[in-house]
Amino acid sequence: MSQIPAEGDSPLSPAAALAVLADQQRIVANRFGSSIRIITAAWGVAWLCGFLSIWLMDAGIRSFTLPTWLGWTIFAVLFAAAIVVSAVLGIRSGRGIRSNSANAFTGTVYGISWVVSILGINAFGAALLTHGMTAQLADLFYPSAYTLVVGIMYLAAAAIWRIGQMVVAGAVLIVLAAGAGFFGHPTNYLVFAIVGGALFFGLAIASALQSRSVRARG
């Protein structure tokens, strides 16, 4: 009924064809998906350990108090590492893939929006500091403001590229940004560590499970 011999290739039964199809989809998903797992895990480490180290500077836990320079250094190194991991793996994963000019425009505007938004927060924060924002308030303002930008950019990405997980991630980050300040300093940093870390590790695990379910279907 369905075995149509194809020129230059061995005939396939429908079941075999479905298996070939699922197998190839798994291969492609794994090639592109493995970088997403590593990238989100790197951000999980940065959020969890980075914010935890800032929290430990002022949390008053005697044997775990970090000197200020060390706390900020750990934070900066982990976030810089996550950015490098994202850039390197993102470029590697997109190797040999070309978008049309409309897509390229969208990507460029989206990328520039990140830089402009972060610079905007820096300038706004500087203005607030100039007009009397205390160091304690700055500790509430900066992490929430940056996280708000990240959340909004994630929602924008979700809308542009129709990625359901980014809707969840963006919404969680916006709620985190809006709510963390209510805990006061330094507990807000602990909230960022726990919620941000859990979110990104959760995304990494979800990505791993997704590729496993594709494999199981194969």
Binding site: I4, A6, D9, A17, L18, Q25, G96
Partner: protein, 98 residues
């Protein structure tokens, strides 16, 4: 009874089409990257791509990146629809959600 599209219903072309369908609608892939995803020889891949191109399922565009010539492949709208119809027919034949 669902008919299986003979252009796609061959192991190599099925794998090629599935890989191209995994890309976004306006994305294309360089020949070497596609070859890497499929683990096929360049000659074999070219042969099957030609058949898909003749059927109007794949569009081949040749360009230069610097001085290096690069060939990009993408599914046409017809090709993407044919692939969707093919997978649907396959599931019907196997009694899955027909």
């Amino acid at each position: 009874m669902a008919e299986l599209d003979p252009v796609i219903h061959a192991q190599a072309r099925l794998r090629i089409t599935a890989s191209l369908a995994a890309l976004g609608e306006s994305e294309s892939i360089a020949f070497p990257r596609l070859q890497e995803l499929l683990d096929m020889t360049a000659g074999n891949l070219s042969t099957h791509l030609r058949k898909l191109e003749e059927a109007g399922y794949v569009v081949v565009s040749k360009t230069h990146e610097g001085r290096v010539p690069v060939t990009y492949l993408e599914l046409t709208r017809t090709g993407r629809r044919a692939f969707e119809d093919y997978t649907e027919s396959l599931r019907q034949l196997l009694g899955e959600g027909g």
